[in-house]
Protein backbone atom coordinates (compact mmCIF):
# COMPACT_ATOMS: atom_id res chain seq x y z
CA UNK A 1 0.00 0.00 0.00
CA UNK A 2 1.29 3.46 -0.83
CA UNK A 3 2.50 5.62 2.02
CA UNK A 4 2.94 9.37 2.09
CA UNK A 5 6.40 10.84 1.90
CA UNK A 6 7.44 14.44 1.69
CA UNK A 7 10.23 15.50 -0.57
CA UNK A 8 12.40 18.47 0.21
CA UNK A 9 13.37 19.99 -3.12
CA UNK A 10 16.15 22.34 -4.12
CA UNK A 11 14.75 25.71 -5.18
CA UNK A 12 16.37 25.58 -8.59
CA UNK A 13 15.06 24.72 -12.05
CA UNK A 14 11.68 24.18 -10.44
CA UNK A 15 9.95 23.41 -13.72
CA UNK A 16 12.14 20.33 -14.04
CA UNK A 17 10.99 18.94 -10.73
CA UNK A 18 8.04 16.81 -11.79
CA UNK A 19 9.49 15.69 -15.14
CA UNK A 20 12.60 14.49 -13.29
CA UNK A 21 10.60 12.56 -10.69
CA UNK A 22 8.49 10.96 -13.39
CA UNK A 23 11.47 10.07 -15.59
CA UNK A 24 13.38 8.44 -12.75
CA UNK A 25 10.44 6.51 -11.35
CA UNK A 26 9.66 5.23 -14.84
CA UNK A 27 13.32 4.30 -15.32
CA UNK A 28 13.27 2.16 -12.16
CA UNK A 29 9.77 0.87 -12.90
CA UNK A 30 7.69 2.22 -10.04
CA UNK A 31 5.04 4.88 -9.71
CA UNK A 32 4.90 8.13 -7.79
CA UNK A 33 1.44 9.41 -6.93
CA UNK A 34 1.30 13.17 -7.01
CA UNK A 35 -1.03 15.37 -4.98
CA UNK A 36 -4.31 16.11 -6.73
CA UNK A 37 -4.58 19.71 -5.51
CA UNK A 38 -2.53 21.89 -7.89
CA UNK A 39 -1.52 24.14 -5.01
CA UNK A 40 0.22 21.12 -3.44
CA UNK A 41 2.29 20.71 -6.62
CA UNK A 42 3.25 24.37 -6.74
CA UNK A 43 6.92 24.32 -7.75
CA UNK A 44 7.73 27.43 -5.76
CA UNK A 45 7.08 25.49 -2.56
CA UNK A 46 10.03 23.59 -1.09
CA UNK A 47 8.05 20.51 -0.05
CA UNK A 48 5.75 18.19 -1.89
CA UNK A 49 3.86 15.16 -0.60
CA UNK A 50 4.01 12.07 -2.80
CA UNK A 51 2.71 8.55 -2.42
CA UNK A 52 5.24 5.72 -2.82
CA UNK A 53 4.83 1.96 -2.59
CA UNK A 54 8.04 1.36 -0.71
CA UNK A 55 10.84 3.06 1.16
CA UNK A 56 13.27 1.64 -1.41
CA UNK A 57 11.58 3.79 -4.02
CA UNK A 58 12.19 6.85 -1.87
CA UNK A 59 15.88 5.88 -1.69
CA UNK A 60 16.08 5.45 -5.46
CA UNK A 61 14.63 8.92 -6.00
CA UNK A 62 17.02 10.45 -3.49
CA UNK A 63 19.97 8.67 -5.08
CA UNK A 64 19.28 9.80 -8.60
CA UNK A 65 17.17 12.99 -8.72
CA UNK A 66 19.29 16.11 -8.94
CA UNK A 67 16.59 18.36 -7.46
CA UNK A 68 15.84 16.20 -4.40
CA UNK A 69 17.49 17.35 -1.18
CA UNK A 70 15.93 14.65 0.98
CA UNK A 71 12.93 12.35 1.27
CA UNK A 72 11.01 11.94 4.55
CA UNK A 73 8.25 9.61 5.62
CA UNK A 74 5.34 11.92 6.42
CA UNK A 75 4.10 11.60 9.98
CA UNK A 76 2.12 14.81 10.29
CA UNK A 77 1.53 18.23 8.80
CA UNK A 78 -0.48 21.28 9.66
CA UNK A 79 -0.89 24.99 9.14
CA UNK A 80 -0.51 25.30 12.91
CA UNK A 81 1.24 23.16 15.50
CA UNK A 82 -2.11 22.33 17.09
CA UNK A 83 -3.22 20.80 13.80
CA UNK A 84 0.11 19.02 13.30
CA UNK A 85 0.15 17.49 16.77
CA UNK A 86 -3.45 16.35 16.45
CA UNK A 87 -2.60 14.52 13.24
CA UNK A 88 0.59 13.10 14.71
CA UNK A 89 -1.17 11.80 17.81
CA UNK A 90 -3.89 10.19 15.74
CA UNK A 91 -1.31 8.31 13.66
CA UNK A 92 0.56 6.74 16.55
CA UNK A 93 0.66 3.36 14.74
CA UNK A 94 3.21 4.81 12.32
CA UNK A 95 5.80 5.70 14.92
CA UNK A 96 5.06 3.67 18.06
CA UNK A 97 7.50 0.92 17.06
CA UNK A 98 10.33 3.41 17.64
CA UNK A 99 9.18 4.27 21.17
CA UNK A 100 10.93 1.55 23.20
CA UNK A 101 14.63 2.08 22.62
CA UNK A 102 15.51 3.44 19.19
CA UNK A 103 18.20 6.13 19.39
CA UNK A 104 17.15 9.29 17.66
CA UNK A 105 18.04 12.78 16.56
CA UNK A 106 15.55 15.60 16.23
CA UNK A 107 15.89 18.54 13.81
CA UNK A 108 13.78 21.64 13.75
CA UNK A 109 14.37 23.96 10.87
CA UNK A 110 12.87 26.27 8.37
CA UNK A 111 13.56 26.95 4.73
CA UNK A 112 15.10 30.38 4.10
CA UNK A 113 14.86 31.31 7.75
CA UNK A 114 16.72 30.47 10.95
CA UNK A 115 14.59 29.57 13.93
CA UNK A 116 16.13 30.86 17.17
CA UNK A 117 17.59 28.11 19.35
CA UNK A 118 15.17 28.76 22.20
CA UNK A 119 12.16 28.23 19.99
CA UNK A 120 13.73 25.18 18.34
CA UNK A 121 13.93 23.64 21.81
CA UNK A 122 10.35 24.64 22.52
CA UNK A 123 9.09 23.01 19.32
CA UNK A 124 11.04 19.87 20.13
CA UNK A 125 9.73 19.68 23.68
CA UNK A 126 6.18 19.94 22.44
CA UNK A 127 6.67 16.52 20.87
CA UNK A 128 7.43 14.96 24.26
CA UNK A 129 4.02 13.21 24.33
CA UNK A 130 5.49 10.78 21.79
CA UNK A 131 7.46 9.38 24.75
CA UNK A 132 10.49 8.05 22.90
CA UNK A 133 12.56 6.06 25.42
CA UNK A 134 15.70 5.72 23.32
CA UNK A 135 18.82 7.80 23.83
CA UNK A 136 19.46 10.96 21.84
CA UNK A 137 22.36 10.31 19.50
CA UNK A 138 23.61 13.18 17.38
CA UNK A 139 26.29 11.22 15.51
CA UNK A 140 24.78 7.88 14.63
CA UNK A 141 21.08 7.85 15.48
CA UNK A 142 18.70 4.98 14.69
CA UNK A 143 16.24 7.45 13.20
CA UNK A 144 16.28 11.15 12.37
CA UNK A 145 13.04 13.05 12.83
CA UNK A 146 12.66 16.45 11.23
CA UNK A 147 10.18 19.20 11.63
CA UNK A 148 10.16 21.87 8.93
CA UNK A 149 8.38 25.16 8.84
CA UNK A 150 7.59 26.45 5.38
CA UNK A 151 7.81 30.22 5.20
CA UNK A 152 4.99 32.23 3.75
CA UNK A 153 7.14 33.91 1.16
CA UNK A 154 10.12 32.45 -0.59
CA UNK A 155 11.65 35.84 -1.24
CA UNK A 156 13.34 35.64 2.09
CA UNK A 157 15.95 38.33 2.05
CA UNK A 158 13.56 41.14 1.19
CA UNK A 159 10.99 40.66 3.89
CA UNK A 160 11.59 40.84 7.59
CA UNK A 161 9.84 37.72 8.72
CA UNK A 162 8.28 37.18 12.10
CA UNK A 163 9.60 34.02 13.64
CA UNK A 164 6.95 31.34 13.97
CA UNK A 165 4.75 32.84 11.29
CA UNK A 166 4.72 30.00 8.81
CA UNK A 167 2.55 28.72 5.99
CA UNK A 168 2.66 25.06 6.91
CA UNK A 169 4.78 22.70 9.02
CA UNK A 170 5.81 19.17 8.05
CA UNK A 171 7.02 16.47 10.39
CA UNK A 172 8.44 13.05 9.59
CA UNK A 173 11.28 10.57 9.56
CA UNK A 174 14.24 10.98 7.27
CA UNK A 175 14.42 8.16 4.72
CA UNK A 176 17.33 9.33 2.58
CA UNK A 177 19.30 12.44 1.87
CA UNK A 178 19.58 13.31 -1.80
CA UNK A 179 23.01 12.15 -2.93
CA UNK A 180 22.80 13.21 -6.58
CA UNK A 181 23.16 16.92 -5.91
CA UNK A 182 26.87 16.49 -5.27
CA UNK A 183 27.21 15.58 -8.95
CA UNK A 184 26.60 19.23 -9.83
CA UNK A 185 29.97 20.04 -8.33
CA UNK A 186 31.64 16.94 -9.76
CA UNK A 187 30.59 17.90 -13.29
CA UNK A 188 31.24 21.61 -12.83
CA UNK A 189 32.40 22.91 -16.19
CA UNK A 190 35.14 25.01 -14.58
CA UNK A 191 36.79 21.90 -13.16
CA UNK A 192 36.64 20.04 -16.46
CA UNK A 193 39.88 19.38 -18.31
CA UNK A 194 38.25 20.26 -21.60
CA UNK A 195 35.38 22.64 -22.26
CA UNK A 196 34.33 25.47 -24.52
CA UNK A 197 32.21 28.58 -24.35
CA UNK A 198 29.11 26.61 -25.30
CA UNK A 199 29.57 23.87 -22.69
CA UNK A 200 26.34 23.24 -20.83
CA UNK A 201 26.23 23.94 -17.11
CA UNK A 202 26.41 20.78 -15.09
CA UNK A 203 23.07 20.93 -13.26
CA UNK A 204 21.11 21.20 -16.49
CA UNK A 205 23.13 18.51 -18.24
CA UNK A 206 22.46 16.20 -15.28
CA UNK A 207 18.74 16.98 -15.37
CA UNK A 208 18.67 16.27 -19.08
CA UNK A 209 20.49 12.94 -18.60
CA UNK A 210 17.85 12.03 -16.03
CA UNK A 211 15.02 12.99 -18.34
CA UNK A 212 16.68 10.86 -21.01
CA UNK A 213 16.57 7.99 -18.50
CA UNK A 214 20.23 7.23 -19.11
CA UNK A 215 21.27 3.96 -17.52
CA UNK A 216 23.52 0.91 -17.92
CA UNK A 217 23.36 -0.80 -21.29
CA UNK A 218 21.57 2.07 -23.01
CA UNK A 219 22.89 4.09 -25.93
CA UNK A 220 22.63 7.87 -25.72
CA UNK A 221 23.50 10.04 -28.70
CA UNK A 222 24.21 13.76 -29.00
CA UNK A 223 24.16 14.84 -32.65
CA UNK A 224 25.49 18.32 -31.74
CA UNK A 225 28.08 17.09 -29.26
CA UNK A 226 30.37 20.14 -29.32
CA UNK A 227 32.64 19.82 -26.30
CA UNK A 228 30.67 16.81 -25.10
CA UNK A 229 28.84 18.28 -22.08
CA UNK A 230 25.76 16.13 -22.56
CA UNK A 231 27.75 12.93 -22.99
CA UNK A 232 29.59 12.84 -19.66
CA UNK A 233 26.54 12.93 -17.39
CA UNK A 234 24.68 10.24 -19.36
CA UNK A 235 27.82 8.10 -19.30
CA UNK A 236 28.12 8.67 -15.56
CA UNK A 237 24.70 7.07 -15.12
CA UNK A 238 25.97 4.03 -17.01
CA UNK A 239 24.94 4.65 -20.61
CA UNK A 240 27.15 4.15 -23.64
CA UNK A 241 27.38 7.45 -25.48
CA UNK A 242 27.94 8.53 -29.07
CA UNK A 243 28.72 12.06 -30.15
CA UNK A 244 28.83 13.72 -33.52
CA UNK A 245 29.35 17.30 -34.60
CA UNK A 246 29.70 19.13 -37.87
CA UNK A 247 32.86 20.73 -36.53
CA UNK A 248 35.45 18.18 -35.46
CA UNK A 249 37.57 20.88 -33.86
CA UNK A 250 35.17 21.30 -30.97
CA UNK A 251 35.50 17.63 -30.08
CA UNK A 252 39.25 17.46 -30.62
CA UNK A 253 40.46 20.64 -28.98
CA UNK A 254 43.45 22.70 -30.01
CA UNK A 255 46.32 20.39 -29.28
CA UNK A 256 46.66 17.97 -32.20
CA UNK A 257 49.23 15.85 -30.33
CA UNK A 258 47.12 15.01 -27.29
CA UNK A 259 44.09 12.75 -27.41
CA UNK A 260 40.83 14.55 -28.28
CA UNK A 261 39.45 16.87 -25.60
CA UNK A 262 36.19 14.98 -25.36
CA UNK A 263 38.12 11.78 -24.63
CA UNK A 264 40.24 13.48 -21.96
CA UNK A 265 37.18 14.88 -20.20
CA UNK A 266 35.44 11.50 -20.32
CA UNK A 267 38.53 9.92 -18.74
CA UNK A 268 38.55 12.58 -16.04
CA UNK A 269 35.07 11.40 -15.03
CA UNK A 270 36.05 7.74 -15.25
CA UNK A 271 33.71 7.09 -18.16
CA UNK A 272 36.26 6.91 -20.99
CA UNK A 273 35.26 3.35 -21.85
CA UNK A 274 31.60 4.31 -22.20
CA UNK A 275 32.34 6.96 -24.82
CA UNK A 276 31.80 4.68 -27.79
CA UNK A 277 32.83 7.07 -30.53
CA UNK A 278 32.83 10.62 -31.77
CA UNK A 279 32.40 11.31 -35.47
CA UNK A 280 32.56 14.43 -37.55
CA UNK A 281 29.51 14.81 -39.74
CA UNK A 282 26.49 16.99 -40.40
CA UNK A 283 23.58 15.19 -38.81
CA UNK A 284 21.29 16.35 -41.60
CA UNK A 285 23.53 14.39 -43.99
CA UNK A 286 24.30 11.57 -41.63
CA UNK A 287 25.90 8.23 -42.43
CA UNK A 288 23.88 6.07 -40.00
CA UNK A 289 23.22 2.80 -41.77
CA UNK A 290 19.93 2.08 -40.02
CA UNK A 291 17.50 3.46 -37.47
CA UNK A 292 16.18 2.16 -34.18
CA UNK A 293 19.63 2.18 -32.58
CA UNK A 294 19.49 4.78 -29.82
CA UNK A 295 17.71 4.68 -26.46
CA UNK A 296 17.89 8.44 -26.15
CA UNK A 297 19.00 11.49 -28.07
CA UNK A 298 20.06 14.29 -25.79
CA UNK A 299 21.29 17.55 -27.15
CA UNK A 300 21.79 21.00 -25.77
CA UNK A 301 22.68 22.67 -29.02
CA UNK A 302 22.16 26.34 -28.46
CA UNK A 303 20.78 28.16 -31.37
CA UNK A 304 19.25 31.56 -31.55
CA UNK A 305 19.05 33.76 -34.55
CA UNK A 306 18.11 36.93 -32.70
CA UNK A 307 21.03 39.15 -31.81
CA UNK A 308 20.15 39.37 -28.12
CA UNK A 309 22.90 39.13 -25.59
CA UNK A 310 23.89 35.78 -24.23
CA UNK A 311 23.35 34.10 -27.51
CA UNK A 312 25.99 31.61 -28.39
CA UNK A 313 27.15 29.54 -31.34
CA UNK A 314 24.75 29.54 -34.27
CA UNK A 315 23.87 26.33 -35.98
CA UNK A 316 25.51 25.33 -39.22
CA UNK A 317 24.78 22.79 -41.87
CA UNK A 318 26.67 21.68 -44.90
CA UNK A 319 26.12 23.69 -48.05
CA UNK A 320 26.93 26.98 -49.59
CA UNK A 321 25.16 30.21 -48.89
CA UNK A 322 22.80 31.16 -51.68
CA UNK A 323 24.30 33.17 -54.48
CA UNK A 324 27.77 31.75 -54.11
CA UNK A 325 29.15 29.46 -56.71
CA UNK A 326 30.30 25.93 -56.19
CA UNK A 327 34.06 25.72 -55.94
CA UNK A 328 36.09 23.77 -58.47
CA UNK A 329 36.37 20.47 -56.67
CA UNK A 330 39.13 18.96 -58.79
CA UNK A 331 41.81 20.52 -56.63
CA UNK A 332 40.09 20.21 -53.28
CA UNK A 333 39.79 17.20 -51.02
CA UNK A 334 43.06 15.67 -52.17
CA UNK A 335 45.17 16.51 -49.17
CA UNK A 336 42.60 15.50 -46.57
CA UNK A 337 42.49 18.89 -44.92
CA UNK A 338 39.57 20.15 -46.93
CA UNK A 339 36.81 21.68 -44.85
CA UNK A 340 33.52 21.98 -46.71
CA UNK A 341 31.57 25.23 -46.50
CA UNK A 342 28.62 25.51 -44.18
CA UNK A 343 25.56 27.67 -44.20
CA UNK A 344 23.39 28.92 -41.34
CA UNK A 345 20.71 26.58 -40.14
CA UNK A 346 17.38 28.10 -39.19
CA UNK A 347 16.26 27.20 -35.71
CA UNK A 348 12.74 26.15 -36.60
CA UNK A 349 14.04 23.97 -39.39
CA UNK A 350 16.67 22.40 -37.15
CA UNK A 351 14.18 21.58 -34.40
CA UNK A 352 11.76 20.01 -36.86
CA UNK A 353 14.57 17.98 -38.47
CA UNK A 354 15.75 16.84 -35.06
CA UNK A 355 12.35 15.46 -34.12
CA UNK A 356 11.97 13.67 -37.45
CA UNK A 357 15.48 12.26 -37.27
CA UNK A 358 14.87 11.06 -33.72
CA UNK A 359 11.77 9.21 -34.83
CA UNK A 360 14.07 7.26 -37.14
CA UNK A 361 17.12 6.75 -34.93
CA UNK A 362 15.39 6.02 -31.62
CA UNK A 363 14.22 2.64 -30.47
CA UNK A 364 10.50 2.45 -29.66
CA UNK A 365 9.97 4.17 -26.32
CA UNK A 366 13.25 6.06 -26.69
CA UNK A 367 13.49 9.68 -25.68
CA UNK A 368 14.57 12.88 -27.35
CA UNK A 369 15.63 15.58 -24.90
CA UNK A 370 16.57 18.93 -26.41
CA UNK A 371 16.67 22.64 -25.83
CA UNK A 372 14.35 24.88 -27.72
CA UNK A 373 15.27 28.53 -27.24
CA UNK A 374 12.12 30.60 -27.17
CA UNK A 375 11.25 34.22 -26.69
CA UNK A 376 9.58 34.15 -23.30
CA UNK A 377 6.50 36.23 -24.10
CA UNK A 378 5.66 34.67 -27.41
CA UNK A 379 5.93 30.99 -26.66
CA UNK A 380 3.02 28.68 -27.32
CA UNK A 381 2.85 24.93 -26.90
CA UNK A 382 2.34 24.49 -30.64
CA UNK A 383 5.84 25.85 -31.20
CA UNK A 384 7.30 22.46 -30.29
CA UNK A 385 7.77 20.64 -33.56
CA UNK A 386 5.84 17.43 -33.87
CA UNK A 387 6.09 14.27 -35.89
CA UNK A 388 3.84 11.27 -36.09
CA UNK A 389 4.97 8.69 -33.58
CA UNK A 390 6.62 11.15 -31.22
CA UNK A 391 4.71 12.42 -28.18
CA UNK A 392 5.65 15.39 -26.06
CA UNK A 393 6.29 14.10 -22.54
CA UNK A 394 7.58 17.16 -20.74
CA UNK A 395 8.44 20.73 -21.38
CA UNK A 396 10.33 22.80 -18.85
CA UNK A 397 11.50 26.35 -19.08
CA UNK A 398 14.77 27.84 -17.94
CA UNK A 399 14.12 31.54 -17.95
CA UNK A 400 16.79 34.03 -18.91
CA UNK A 401 14.52 37.05 -18.85
CA UNK A 402 13.91 38.07 -22.43
CA UNK A 403 14.42 34.63 -23.77
CA UNK A 404 14.41 31.20 -22.32
CA UNK A 405 15.17 27.71 -23.35
CA UNK A 406 12.89 24.79 -22.98
CA UNK A 407 13.85 21.25 -22.43
CA UNK A 408 11.45 19.22 -24.46
CA UNK A 409 11.20 15.49 -24.01
CA UNK A 410 9.50 13.54 -26.75
Amino acid sequence: MAKDYFIHFAQAHTEFRLPELQSISELYGFSVSLPTDPQEQNPSRPFMIVGLESEDHARLLAGRCILVRAVYELWARGTSYTQLHAMNASRKHIWESYQPGTSFKFNVSSVNHTIPQARQREVMENFSYMAFQGPIDMKNPGIIMSCFEECKSIISSLIKRNDGDFKEAFFGKLVAEGSARSLISKFDVKKRVYFGNTSMESEVSLLMANQAQAGPGKIVYDPFAGTGSMLYTSAHFGAFVFGSDIDGRTMRGKNPKSSPGVVRAAQQYGVGTRLIDCCTFDVTKNPWRCGGIMDAIVTAHLILDSPQDGVRAGAKRLGRKEGRELRDMSRAAKDGTYIPPTKPYELSELAADLVTLSRYLLKPGGRLVFFLPTVTDEYEEVDVPTCEGMTLVANSMQNFGKWGRRVCVS
Binding site: P216, G217, F240, F242, S244, I246, G248, M251, R252, P256, S259, P260, V263, T273, R274, L275, I276, D277, C278, C279, T280, F281, D282, K285, N286, P287, W288, R289, C290, G292, I293, L318, G319, R320, L326, R327, M329, A332, A333, G336, Y338, I339, P340, P341
Partner: protein
Protein backbone atom coordinates in the same frame (compact mmCIF):
# COMPACT_ATOMS: atom_id res chain seq x y z
CA UNK B 1 38.25 4.94 -31.03
CA UNK B 2 36.33 3.99 -34.14
CA UNK B 3 35.22 0.81 -32.55
CA UNK B 4 33.73 -1.90 -34.74
CA UNK B 5 30.30 -1.22 -33.24
CA UNK B 6 30.46 2.23 -34.81
CA UNK B 7 31.93 0.92 -38.05
CA UNK B 8 29.04 -1.51 -38.30
CA UNK B 9 26.57 1.37 -38.16
CA UNK B 10 28.18 3.70 -40.70
CA UNK B 11 27.51 3.56 -44.43
CA UNK B 12 28.72 5.83 -47.20
CA UNK B 13 26.24 8.63 -47.64
CA UNK B 14 27.66 10.51 -50.60
CA UNK B 15 25.27 11.73 -53.28
CA UNK B 16 23.91 8.89 -55.37
CA UNK B 17 25.84 6.26 -53.46
CA UNK B 18 23.03 4.02 -52.26
CA UNK B 19 24.00 0.48 -53.16
CA UNK B 20 27.04 -1.54 -52.14
CA UNK B 21 27.95 1.39 -49.86
CA UNK B 22 28.54 -0.79 -46.80
CA UNK B 23 30.71 -1.90 -45.07
CA UNK B 24 33.38 0.71 -45.48
CA UNK B 25 36.80 -0.90 -45.96
CA UNK B 26 39.53 -0.06 -43.49
CA UNK B 27 42.83 1.02 -45.01
CA UNK B 28 46.27 1.72 -43.49
CA UNK B 29 44.96 1.31 -39.97
CA UNK B 30 46.66 1.66 -36.61
CA UNK B 31 44.90 -0.49 -34.06
CA UNK B 32 44.72 -0.35 -30.31
CA UNK B 33 43.04 -2.69 -27.85
CA UNK B 34 41.43 -1.08 -24.85
CA UNK B 35 39.45 -2.87 -22.22
CA UNK B 36 35.77 -1.94 -21.99
CA UNK B 37 33.14 -2.89 -19.45
CA UNK B 38 31.42 -6.15 -20.31
CA UNK B 39 27.63 -5.96 -20.43
CA UNK B 40 26.07 -9.17 -21.83
CA UNK B 41 22.53 -7.76 -21.74
CA UNK B 42 23.59 -4.80 -23.84
CA UNK B 43 25.25 -7.13 -26.37
CA UNK B 44 22.18 -9.36 -26.66
CA UNK B 45 19.97 -6.30 -27.10
CA UNK B 46 22.25 -4.88 -29.76
CA UNK B 47 22.71 -8.09 -31.78
CA UNK B 48 19.60 -7.65 -33.97
CA UNK B 49 21.08 -4.38 -35.25
CA UNK B 50 24.38 -5.90 -36.29
CA UNK B 51 25.10 -6.59 -39.94
CA UNK B 52 26.74 -9.89 -39.10
CA UNK B 53 28.66 -10.71 -42.27
CA UNK B 54 30.14 -7.22 -42.32
CA UNK B 55 31.25 -7.51 -38.70
CA UNK B 56 32.88 -10.92 -39.16
CA UNK B 57 34.68 -10.00 -42.37
CA UNK B 58 35.91 -6.68 -40.95
CA UNK B 59 37.13 -8.34 -37.75
CA UNK B 60 39.00 -10.92 -39.83
CA UNK B 61 40.63 -8.25 -41.94
CA UNK B 62 41.84 -6.67 -38.72
CA UNK B 63 43.22 -10.02 -37.54
CA UNK B 64 40.52 -11.20 -35.16
CA UNK B 65 39.06 -14.59 -36.09
CA UNK B 66 37.16 -15.31 -32.88
CA UNK B 67 33.64 -14.80 -34.25
CA UNK B 68 31.67 -17.62 -35.96
CA UNK B 69 30.60 -17.09 -39.57
CA UNK B 70 26.98 -17.61 -38.59
CA UNK B 71 25.35 -15.45 -35.94
CA UNK B 72 23.90 -17.68 -33.20
CA UNK B 73 20.12 -17.74 -32.80
CA UNK B 74 18.77 -15.49 -30.04
CA UNK B 75 18.88 -17.31 -26.72
CA UNK B 76 21.68 -19.68 -27.75
CA UNK B 77 24.61 -17.33 -27.18
CA UNK B 78 27.34 -18.90 -25.05
CA UNK B 79 29.47 -16.92 -22.60
CA UNK B 80 32.48 -17.57 -24.74
CA UNK B 81 30.70 -16.17 -27.77
CA UNK B 82 29.50 -13.06 -25.92
CA UNK B 83 33.00 -12.33 -24.66
CA UNK B 84 34.36 -12.64 -28.19
CA UNK B 85 31.60 -10.36 -29.49
CA UNK B 86 32.30 -7.88 -26.71
CA UNK B 87 35.97 -7.78 -27.62
CA UNK B 88 35.31 -7.28 -31.33
CA UNK B 89 32.57 -4.68 -30.96
CA UNK B 90 33.85 -2.66 -28.04
CA UNK B 91 37.59 -3.19 -27.49
CA UNK B 92 39.25 -2.97 -30.89
CA UNK B 93 39.91 0.67 -31.68
CA UNK B 94 41.04 2.06 -35.01
CA UNK B 95 43.05 5.15 -34.15
CA UNK B 96 44.44 6.19 -37.52
CA UNK B 97 43.80 5.26 -41.14
CA UNK B 98 40.78 5.58 -43.33
CA UNK B 99 37.51 3.97 -44.33
CA UNK B 100 36.83 3.62 -48.03
CA UNK B 101 33.45 3.18 -49.66
CA UNK B 102 33.38 -0.08 -51.69
CA UNK B 103 31.09 1.57 -54.24
CA UNK B 104 32.17 5.18 -54.86
CA UNK B 105 35.65 4.93 -53.30
CA UNK B 106 35.06 7.96 -51.10
CA UNK B 107 37.78 8.07 -48.45
CA UNK B 108 36.75 8.89 -44.89
CA UNK B 109 39.87 9.67 -42.91
CA UNK B 110 40.33 8.71 -39.28
CA UNK B 111 42.56 10.98 -37.29
CA UNK B 112 43.23 10.62 -33.59
CA UNK B 113 40.35 8.18 -33.34
CA UNK B 114 37.78 10.54 -34.84
CA UNK B 115 36.49 9.71 -38.33
CA UNK B 116 35.72 12.59 -40.62
CA UNK B 117 32.43 11.68 -42.28
CA UNK B 118 31.83 15.14 -43.74
CA UNK B 119 30.97 15.32 -47.38
CA UNK B 120 32.23 17.89 -49.83
CA UNK B 121 29.62 20.20 -51.24
CA UNK B 122 29.36 18.41 -54.58
CA UNK B 123 28.66 15.16 -52.74
CA UNK B 124 25.65 16.33 -50.77
CA UNK B 125 22.41 14.68 -51.71
Amino acid sequence: MVRLITHNLLACHAKGCTTNNFPLAFRDVQLENREAEYNPEFLKGFMPKIEWNALVSTARELGDVSLPAECPEPGTETDEFLHALHHVLMEIHVEEGSMVCPNCQHVYRISNGIPNMLLAEHEIK
